[in-house]
Symmetry: C2
Subunit: 119 residues, 2 copies
């Protein structure tokens, strides 16, 4: 996991939430983890992200107590991750954010593409 050298503590709830939710794929993983729970399945689901990143972000989510690991110690290692009750408190927020993003996808993608044009 990454440890920061410079630390801040604005008593800003958003800042704190972003320490937990920030990360390129974390939200997608959380979204995925509601249906599928095994790392290899998540990796197949989110094809854009490498398995390494998924591992790392899962480790962070585990660290913050958002997900928990239920490793049945049997054959081809059936590790499963699932949301903790703490993690579940995030769901309404995540769906709100997701909804907003989808609702305004056109505009955002449009702007985003403008950034790439000139290269």
């Amino acid at each position: 996991m990454y440890t920061r050298k410079i630390q801040e503590d604005p008593d800003c709830g958003i800042y704190l939430a972003m320490r937990v939710l920030g990360g390129k794929w974390k939200c997608c993983i959380l979204d995925a983890i509601r249906g599928i729970s095994r790392p290899s399945e998540i990796a197949r689901y989110i094809t854009e992200a490498s398995t390494r990143v998924i591992e790392m972000q899962l480790a962070e989510l585990l660290f913050y107590g958002i997900v928990e690991k239920c490793a049945e110690d049997v054959y081809p290692k059936k590790t499963e991750y699932k949301l903790t009750s703490f993690g579940e408190t995030l769901l309404p927020i995540l769906s709100k954010i997701d909804q907003w993003g989808i609702e305004h996808a056109e505009v955002i993608k449009d702007r985003m593409s403008e950034l790439q044009e000139d290269e």
Copy 2:
């Protein structure tokens, strides 16, 4: 503004939303901008962030159409930024995130501090 070299387009609303909201101080600026609107005031309000960052993040918010600039072209340059109607659609989400962060501040800070201990 930063232009990304590697691009993705997961049709994940959260990912899109994070392109707009991501950034160390953007949420704090959005929070501030409801009361105060001039760059120098924001800078004095968010003392941890340098004026340069605030400028850059304001530029991004402007770019995505979240805020708009109302520069009265008069004396000590009374530039004012305010939320657009698009930006206002973010408010309920931002307050939800903020609320969550404050509600779980103890746990999160606790975990965060653990990361810094060993150096």
